[in-house]
């Protein structure tokens, strides 16, 4: 080799070995970082199950809260969470789906629509505790609903509304344009197109969004603390204006106490809440699969 060739080889040393090894190390680091979250989730579940299982029995599920840990239960919290979810769905689903239909199918394109979209994106990012302040000022004080189930459900409805609107819009956007055009070509009105074609086709996506929104509502604590959901409710709400408690509030209250036994009760209540949320997410997945197999078109 001439001197020049040697110089060239030295200059263009690809160091391929070293670069490949660096790449392998990086891949391992990236993988470890990815599974870190799963490890934490596992640790969380193991800790909660270890602490809570001894307290989880029929008596716990069917008793009211008590000052004595061994007598305490989550009956009123389960019933409160159930009603809160049903009421929130009743308010938020029609309004959220309706708003999405308007924005996607009716609203004239322009700056006003862009403004509303930006507003919805921002609403989705507002901290939940701020929604609690809104509920406190608007429903509890201004409409004088007090610290009631109704005030809680209305607050939660506003909180989950952006989630339902955004997922419904995405589901409607995914419907092929040809479906709209052929329906219009056959003389269908706008509402006929929406109700008999777009909604059935978009249903799986909309349903998934609704279930995700409702599981958010079931797990939220801060807004309900703000509007004053009680932590010690030894009765079941009989009407919409009764005070109430929910599972997350009960968990918060028991976790905040210094006694070990109450912390364990909190863990038991967490198991119930997580099982419930898991079932909801599972039903979302199953529903989506079912609809994908039985598409109306």
């Amino acid at each position: 080799m001439t001197e020049v060739q040697q110089a060239v080889v030295a200059r263009f040393d690809l160091r391929l070995e070293r670069r490949r090894r660096l790449g392998q190390i990086l891949a391992v680091i990236l993988f470890l970082a990815t599974v870190f979250g799963l490890l934490v989730l596992t640790a969380l579940l193991v800790e909660v199950i270890r602490e809570g299982t001894p307290w989880l029995d029929w008596q716990f599920l069917t008793s009211y809260p008590s000052r004595k840990p061994e007598a305490a239960g989550i009956k009123s919290a389960i019933v409160g969470s159930f009603w809160l979810m049903v009421l929130t769905a009743m308010f938020a689903v029609p309004v959220g789906v309706g708003a999405a239909i308007y924005l996607e199918e009716y609203a004239p394109r322009g700056w006003f629509l862009r403004l509303i979209q930006l507003n919805i994106a921002n609403l989705a990012g507002i901290p939940s505790v701020i929604y609690g302040i809104l509920g406190l000022g608007l429903f509890v004080r201004f409409f004088a609903l007090g610290r009631s189930l109704l005030a809680g459900a209305l607050t939660m409805s506003l909180l989950v509304l952006p989630i339902i609107v955004i997922s419904t819009q995405e589901a409607l956007r995914a419907v092929p344009q040809g479906i709209r055009e052929s329906a219009y070509a056959l003389g269908a009105t706008r509402w006929q197109v929406v109700s008999s074609h777009l909604l059935p086709i978009a249903a799986p996506g909309i349903l998934t969004g609704i279930i995700l929104a409702l599981s958010r509502a079931v797990g939220e604590t801060a807004p309900l603390v703000m509007i004053g959901a009680l932590t010690f409710v030894a009765f079941l709400p009989a009407n919409l204006l009764d005070p109430f408690t929910v599972l997350p509030i009960q968990i918060f209250n028991w976790t905040a106490r210094p006694q070990e036994d109450f912390r364990a009760l909190a863990a038991a209540a967490i198991i119930v809440l997580m099982v419930f949320l898991f079932l909801m997410n599972l039903s979302a997945i199953l529903l989506r699969n079912y609809y994908e197999r039985h598409r109306p078109h």
Partner: protein
């Protein structure tokens, strides 16, 4: 398609034979009523924002009648419960900032690494399994994370750092960081996926190895989306309430020591609402003033992230 129905109606007016008896249905009263009702639904979202702004500003005005803006922004003590009341926002802001910085140190590297792994490295089979698992992490209620921070992370850290207080910023911040990992990961992954394949293929053709392509071509190309994901996740960390209420304490103070008990803005809001503070007092109104600061801060960050996404969209 939107012009379609109007077109049909015009034809009808021009005297073309009316083939369908309901040719005017799209202008009929029922159709109009439906359109108005749906429009009202959309209006609810606008009213929500206006309602939040009205309540926060209304009560804050009452607060600033009694506490001057100069004291609010100038004083370094926040002692509403003491006989000698001070309303300087800085201790609460500092508490929030400390939690956010710790959360960022946890969530940004791990979330970004997960996004890179899932979008660039993971085989399809692994990806189909990994993504739902991360979504599971995002679905855990915050009060459960709070329980985890207080009863698991704090005792664990106390073994290494015995001088750490039971309520402290470090474990709360770490758990807030874990909470926002899925958000960083999924938004960053979307940004990484949006990078055209041709960019990566061009780099491979020049002889780059995989990690060089990923770190020097794909990640820089997706940087705007990645930055937006960081900002959105940190705005979530600023607004996070239950974890810091349960695990970070209720001691508003200006400190740089993450092992001490602190108080964030959100935790203060919860503390006031839990107590029996009578309506109309300055302490009650301070809740709304702190809420206003929190609202402005998170709104600003969300708008910034939105701007970044819009401005740098498709500029490869």
């Amino acid at each position: 398609m939107r012009e379609g129905t109007g077109e049909r109606v015009r034809w009808h007016r021009q005297g073309f034979p009316d083939l369908t008896p309901e040719a005017n249905l799209s202008r009929g009263p029922r159709e109009r009523l439906i359109q108005v009702l749906l429009g009202l639904c959309a209006l609810v979202t606008v009213c929500t924002t206006l309602g939040i702004a009205a309540i926060l500003i209304g009560e804050s005005v009452a607060f600033f009648r009694q506490v001057s803006l100069a004291e609010f922004l100038g004083d370094t003590r926040w002692t509403p419960q003491f006989a000698e009341q001070h309303f300087g926002i800085w201790p609460l802001l500092a508490g929030t900032l400390m939690i956010t910085v710790i959360a960022a140190l946890v969530a940004i590297p791990i979330g970004l690494a997960a996004a890179i792994y899932i979008s660039q490295y993971a085989p399809d089979r692994v990806r189909r399994w990994l993504k739902p698992s991360l979504e599971l992490l995002a679905g855990v209620p915050t009060v459960v994370y709070g329980y985890f921070a207080l009863t698991f992370v704090t005792p664990l850290l106390q073994r290494v750092l015995p001088q750490m207080q039971v309520y402290n910023a470090l474990s709360a911040g770490i758990v807030v960081g874990i909470m926002i990992i899925p958000m960083v990961a999924s938004l960053s992954e979307d940004a990484l996926r949006a990078v055209p394949r041709s960019l990566a293929e061009g780099a491979y053709a020049l002889g780059a190895t995989k990690y060089e392509v990923v770190l020097r071509v794909v990640v820089p190309a997706a940087l705007s989306g990645i930055m937006a994901s960081f900002i959105l996740a940190l705005s979530r960390a600023i607004g996070e309430t239950m974890i810091v209420t349960l695990a970070a304490g209720a001691t508003p103070r200006l400190t740089l020591n993450p092992l001490e008990s602190i108080q964030t803005m959100t935790a203060y809001i919860v503390q006031v609402s839990l107590g029996d503070t009578p309506q109309g007092t300055v302490v009650y109104q301070s809740l709304f003033a702190v809420g206003l600061v929190l609202f402005i801060l998170t709104l600003g960050m969300n708008l910034l992230a939105n701007r970044i996404i819009l401005r740098f969209k498709e500029t490869y």
